[in-house]
Symmetry: C2
């Protein structure tokens, strides 16, 4: 293998890939990045047996070939090189790197040992708008569980219904649902739970990629292909096993109280009250006062102090006081994004729903905490 | 106590003070900030019995008084308040905070329990230029020891000699000396070792303060007073006990080799080689080749790889190869700051010296590592 490529491009892609590389791989070669030199381009792949990433960059290739290199060492050296051409030459598994006044030698592992990434080439791809994917991930990712014992809940569920894509997440205490606007090109069956960790990487790739993402999926894998400024990029991921909860039946159809309120104002107030709530149990009380058309927020932490806030709100239905976790409320408010948001309530112990008034279609359901 | 002050000013000062507040104080009141309301101003003080900080901000004071409040809780709440006036009212040790639509209550501890900060009011202050203090700290702080068992070496030594201030630090393997340009107003005796932790805070205060710092010191304490945009600020600190090493006699008077080299180029090369050196023992080899008028840098990490760099240099004296710790070299190069730097060498096992060619007067001495 013998090639020359740009330091800045190589560096950018290696930092992206390095995030996937496991710290304690089950096999040494999984700590490596696979270099594949083809005419006019260099491929870089990493794979932790669950998530895989493959990117291509332009290169002047004198001798095609492939080899794997220690990903972190390679990435760290390249990141410090001057912004010039990098020449890469291999001799069996020995690699020489030359750039400016520096020469570096490393030992690689044969490309034969590197496991093959799934490509699902035989499956017909579906095209999804990158903006919709990105918005859906940002709108729901935070509500997934981080508890590894609840495997299926550590992912985001993707489904398609009536011509739109639905993405949802829940940790058992709250639920986030995002629905894309109806698009004709969503007329395909989709039912997959994708690990949060893979979607965090996908989100980073989406910010720099083309308008459309090509998605292939079978019962166990999903492959995202997108075009970036300098070549193609691919993320592959093993799906989470199991039946995702039938979350839609958890969302009440009717509510007997509706509150319209300024989202930013509510979020700031909740964040202040949360400082005190954090000293005790993270519980915030919300008293919707229909007579005063006002929301009163409060928290108490006996040995530390207490706090109260009030915000004008448009309240229909009877006055009510509910309590919930400050984190669930803050994160839902942050994700909702519209200027105004709607809170729909049935009773002190029944799930309530927060949603943006305009913009995207998202539903944030939160289980309240029973207070004496 | 009853007063009103600006949220943004209060917030800025509380974040500064919070850094001093101990996490596990020996006495509960040391986790608190002392509020002192005097006509037209509010004083805020924290003290961990070694380092103390006191700042003043303008305030509309209706009832003077003083009380201590939990520093972190107070600071965290204030940081989230809107940028409006904050009203503070006390009733015995209970405090009410009102700002915008929010009201907060906290329990304080009587001001009587708060230990008094040293002020050394009877000692004649000396005036030091804030720029010189700041430059001296930045030029030497990194070389102090972080090993608490070498108490005296965890500080920066201040001394005055022939009309200039000298600041120095050493961890036993390297030495940094900064000398201010001769100034007439440095004609005073100075001999104090100040803990690095206090100087880090002082450095932050200096960036926002007046041109001159008033310094008072006795055998056990030092007090820095400076004027900021909105009031005065004070840092007090207990000096480190013990005799500081007679470091000046460690610096050779004569060298038989002198190397002039581009500082930025050398620093970049060392940082690249350091990536490989870090895999083994952090040792970098420097071969000064007088015939080639070139410095060759290299490192080897047997199971990982090796690297070589070369840089043109102006070398007088015979060729020589020395080795040293990459970190000592990198940090000295970073602190030197001039475009070109000078390296002075005697032999493979003798200390060598790095210094900036222009700008400030600084000396960085490094003990080489003996190689086979």
């Amino acid at each position: 293998m013998k090639l020359t490529c740009s330091q800045s491009l190589l560096n950018a892609k290696l930092s992206l890939l390095s995030r996937i590389v496991p710290n304690n791989p089950s096999h040494p070669v999984l700590a490596n990045v696979l270099l594949t030199a083809e005419p006019d381009r260099l491929g870089l792949s990493v794979f932790d047996l669950s998530i895989g990433m493959q990117v291509w960059i332009p290169a002047v290739v004198d001798e095609p070939g492939s080899l794997t290199l220690p990903a972190r060492l390679f990435s760290e050296i390249v990141s410090k090189l001057p912004n010039k051409d990098v020449a890469i030459t291999t001799d069996d598994v020995a690699v020489s790197l030359a750039c400016g006044s520096g020469k570096y030698q490393m030992q690689g592992i044969s490309a034969d040992e590197f496991p093959e990434l799934p490509d699902l080439a035989k499956i017909e791809p579906i095209q999804i708008d990158a903006g919709i994917l990105s918005e859906g991930i940002q709108s729901t990712l935070f509500a997934a569980s981080s508890d590894e014992s609840k495997q299926i809940l550590t992912g985001l569920h993707f489904s398609s219904s009536t011509g739109s894509i639905e993405m949802s997440s829940t940790d058992g205490h709250r639920l986030a649902i995002f629905q894309s606007a109806d698009t004709e090109d969503c007329d395909f069956p989709l039912d997959a739970t994708i690990p949060v960790r893979a979607l965090r990487e996908l989100e980073k790739m989406l910010t720099r990629s083309s308008a459309t993402v090509s998605v292939r999926s079978d019962r166990s894998q999903v492959v995202f292909d997108m075009a970036s400024e300098h070549g193609t990029e691919r993320l592959t991921c093993r799906l989470l096993d199991g039946q995702y909860p039938a979350y839609n039946q958890l969302v009440p159809k009717d509510f007997n109280r509706t509150i319209a309120i300024d989202r930013q104002e509510l979020m700031s107030s909740v964040e202040r009250i949360a400082v005190l709530a954090a000293r005790k149990n993270n519980i915030i009380r919300l008293r919707f006062d229909a007579d005063a058309q006002c929301l009163f927020l409060s928290a108490e932490a006996p040995e530390f102090g207490s706090g109260q806030e009030s915000i004008a709100a448009n309240i229909t239905g009877e006055s009510i006081e509910i309590a919930c976790n400050t984190k669930y409320l803050t994160e839902a408010l942050k994700a909702a994004q519209s200027n105004e948001c709607l809170i729909q309530v049935n009773g002190e112990t029944m799930p309530f729903v927060l949603s943006p008034v305009s913009g995207k279609k998202a539903t944030y359901l939160i289980m309240p905490i029973q207070i004496r």
